[in-house]
């Protein structure tokens, strides 16, 4: 299409042609055009409105053409705004106006859109420190609508710092700032009060560029880039500037002043309506990204990830806080009831064990000073007592016979007991313990259990490692074993740890247990070692899981299967959410129980340890 002369309402006008393409040689590619009074060139950054959306997307024009049936299309390489990919942003934003260029392969990289959806140009400055990128000045950055230096790979879904040679078939020089762009000072002076000024500015810039580069192709886009500075500079009087942009150096007759306000407003509206309309926009966005995605789990995961953002921004934040509050109130109330219940259980439990009534005897012989010394320790956090005991031991080593904290522990005790505190030495063959690396622990445990070689140690310090346990056994019994500590879960006691140990023969195992029962092996921090033959459960078949419900009739519905098989966050307006809240409430209550229980146990331990005598 040849250039049409300027008319009153110039909706559209093609600019510079490029080449003919397409299968039937009927597609005309262009390098520039005017639409709604605004001039656009290839590789410009633009705002694009999707149907039905209230805020625009940011993109870069990487192809412009007209098809055989006279429809005008543009291919747009997308920029992502931080809120669109917040899930993947782990660090801080480099700049409040930072956006991310799409790279990689997959959905969300670029799209073809009708040209009519373009709604203005956008000033995006590249602040990458790449040597290929002309560096912008601070002024440039301040005046930009957006900045970018990082990219978001839509296939790998990560943020990258590097910019490759080509992105979406576009050479990198069109990604970076255009040369000749960095003369904002000259632009400023002609702050666009009148057409002439801007025209002058343009011409100067044109000349500069001409001198810099030979190819006429690049000339025009660069002009454009500079012109883009102006609207930012003189915001109020932007209209004039914009109009002047371009390639048709003749003054375009239609100066739609509203143009720029249109362009400006979206960016403002964008921020405000972002809060209100995030749902629709974000969901569409995520739908776009996820459309061709095979991994369904990610799909709903993404969607809900975005939705989560939405909720955090929107007013529903308040409502989501409320259930929490009410649940906390309920917890307190229930706590009262449950404490009583729990005490009942405590009594039951104690009935199971025969309590030796030796307290009276011990209490009578307690000395005051010792009480002080010893009652101090149980209250200290385990770590500090351990440290102090370590220190003492380092001093004492094998010379002092005692294991107890008080330095006052003299050889008297040693003489009396006749035992020496032995420093735990490494089990021999501990290097060779990797022989059995091939056989997984569980199998060995199972085998050991069948043969009676398995022992459970209790009342260990929870921070011991498996190797520590092995060493202790070696030191005390001169027997080798393979041990593994039992991993703590959310409900494990913080006071003690357990470990499984496999011995070589059944006799050894049983002998050990009996000996530990009869005598007493004293571990650091006043812990007698407790051993038993355990009965661990190796069954893996666990079919019942309280809490997952299925409506039988819907079980076979595809959507239900998908909903079940994907992991997702629950939305507050569903029944599922209410039920989930009930579960949360229950786990909270449980947590409090456990805390109370362990607190109680701690006190009991402390009480008993208070009777510990040192002399």
């Amino acid at each position: 299409m040849a250039e049409v002369g300027g008319t009153e309402y110039n909706e559209f006008k093609w600019g510079k042609k490029r080449r003919i393409g397409g299968k039937k040689r009927d597609v005309q590619f262009y390098e520039s055009f005017t639409y709604d009074g605004v001039d656009y060139t290839l590789y410009d950054n633009i705002y694009l409105y999707k149907e039905g959306e209230s805020f625009p997307y940011l993109g870069k024009l990487i192809k412009i053409w007209e098809t055989a049936d006279k429809s005008k299309k543009v291919k747009v390489l997308w920029f992502f705004q931080p809120w669109e990919i917040s899930n993947y942003i782990v660090d801080e934003l480099a700049h409040p106006k930072e956006i991310f260029l799409a790279t990689g392969e997959g959905e969300g990289l670029a799209n073809i859109n009708p040209l009519e959806s373009i709604n203005g140009r956008c000033n995006v400055v590249c602040i990458s420190k790449d040597s290929r990128n002309p560096q912008p000045s601070d002024r440039d950055i301040k005046m930009a609508d957006f900045v970018f230096y990082r990219t978001f790979d839509v296939g790998l879904r990560t943020i990258m710092d590097r910019i490759d040679e080509k992105i979406a078939g576009t050479e990198v020089k069109f990604i970076f700032n255009r040369p000749g762009f960095l003369e904002p000072s000259s632009v400023h002076n002609f702050s666009a009060d009148d057409k002439n000024a801007s025209e002058n500015a343009m011409e100067i810039n044109g000349r500069v560029i001409l001198s810099k580069l030979n190819s006429s192709e690049n000339q025009i886009p660069e002009d454009d880039r500079q012109e883009e500075q102006k609207p930012v500079v003189a915001e109020k009087l932007a209209p004039n500037d914009r109009q002047e942009n371009g390639f048709n150096y003749k003054s375009a007759s239609s100066f739609k002043v509203e143009e720029n306000s249109d362009v400006k407003v979206p960016s403002v509206k964008h921020n405000i309506s972002q809060r209100e309309k995030l749902v629709s926009g974000v969901v569409t966005e995520s739908c776009e990204l996820a459309k061709a995605n095979d991994r369904q789990e990610n799909t709903s995961g993404d969607k809900t990830g975005f939705r989560r953002d939405v909720k955090e921004n929107a007013d529903s934040e308040v409502s989501s806080v409320k259930p929490q509050n009410s649940s906390i109130e309920k917890i307190d109330h229930i706590n009262q009831v449950k404490v009583d219940e729990k005490l009942k259980y405590m009594k039951d439990a104690s009935e199971l064990d025969e309590r030796p009534h030796k307290k009276a005897k011990l209490n009578s012989s307690v000395k005051v000073s010792n009480d002080d010394e010893n009652s101090r320790h149980p209250t200290d956090p385990r770590w500090t007592t351990k440290k102090s005991s370590d220190k003492l031991k380092i001093d004492d080593k094998l010379t002092k016979p005692t294991n107890c904290k008080t330095p006052g522990m003299s050889p008297n005790d040693g003489k009396r007991t006749g035992d020496k505190a032995v420093e735990v030495i490494c089990m021999p063959d501990s290097d060779r313990s990797n022989w059995f690396g091939e056989i997984p622990w569980e199998e060995r445990m199972q085998d050991a259990h069948e043969h009676g070689k398995l022992v459970l140690f209790q009342n260990l310090d929870p921070t011991y490692s498996s190797a520590d346990v092995q060493d202790i056994v070696w030191t005390a019994f001169k027997k080798t074993c393979r041990a593994k500590v039992v991993q703590h879960t959310a409900y494990s006691s913080p006071h003690s740890g357990q470990a499984f140990a496999i011995f070589n023969t059944r006799e050894v195992a049983e002998g050990l247990v009996t000996e530990l029962d009869k005598r007493c092996l004293w571990l650091p921090n006043q812990r007698p070692l407790v051993a038993s033959i355990p009965n661990p459960c190796f069954l893996r078949k666990q079919s019942m899981f309280a809490g997952h419900l299925i409506v039988d009739k819907l079980k076979y519905l595809r959507e239900m299967k998908e909903a079940v098989s994907t992991s997702h966050c629950s939305q507050p307006n569903t029944l599922e959410y209410d039920m989930a809240m009930e579960w949360c409430l229950m786990t909270e209550t449980s947590n409090r129980f456990w805390k109370k229980l362990y607190e109680q146990q701690r006190k009991e331990i402390k009480r008993v340890k208070a009777n510990f005598k040192t002399k």
Partner: protein, 206 residues
């Protein structure tokens, strides 16, 4: 030797910081499910399910998920504590919290630790105390077991109760749906001179 140990321990501590402890997992959750579920928050380096030898077999599973960066772990924990996250089933949400060293079965030795053990003679007055402590340990472990059992029972009760509610709700919605579909509603509306719009029926359970 010493510094190698310390390095190992320091690396271990760093790993602990990057790890999320998740529980209330259904037994059908597999490693791949966990990976895909948590992929959106960052890179999952490894998933380890905690074996359950001593606790009742109906206990929900737990897992340690190691992420690539500490910040990612924090994000997972904070997200999951704000919103209920469902995995392989509804409506019971999974729980995430920061991992502690005691949760790792293959943790390295703490460097600089010196252990001493000694045998106590029966004639030592502390022998009695020691025995008492041993008893106490056993008692506590029984208490814990009872507590766990009690908790499981409560969970099952809640689940059953929710199942009932769900069924009732579903029946209600089904009824509404059939009424809409077979025209009863429209007939009633005509009779009472009511206008009904053409909205779709009520939402169903997810």
């Amino acid at each position: 030797m010493g510094s190698a140990e310390q390095d190992e321990y320091a690396a271990f501590k760093e790993k602990v910081r990057r790890t999320v402890f998740m529980d209330n997992l259904s037994p059908i959750v597999t490693e791949s499910v966990m990976r895909t579920a948590l992929d959106q928050y960052g890179t999952v380096k490894s998933v380890e399910f905690l074996p359950n030898y001593l606790e009742p077999q109906n206990m929900p599973r737990c897992a340690l998920v190691e992420m690539e960066k500490e910040k990612q772990a924090e994000v997972v924990i904070s997200t999951l504590s704000e919103l209920p996250f469902m995995m392989s089933g509804m409506p019971r949400p999974v729980r995430a919290r920061a991992a502690v060293p005691e949760m790792f079965g293959d943790r390295p030795r703490k460097p600089g630790r010196h252990l001493h053990v000694h045998w106590l003679d029966p004639s030592d007055p502390n022998f009695e105390v020691a025995n008492k402590l041993k008893q106490l340990v056993k008692k506590h472990s029984t208490e814990n077991a009872v507590m766990l059992k009690h908790q499981l029972e409560k969970e099952e009760k809640l689940a059953k109760q929710q199942g009932e509610t769900l069924k009732a709700n579903y029946k209600k919605y089904e009824m509404l749906d059939t009424l809409m579909a077979d025209g009863t509603v429209r007939r009633l509306a005509r009779r009472y001179n009511f206008r009904i719009s053409d909205d779709s029926g009520p939402s169903t359970f997810h």
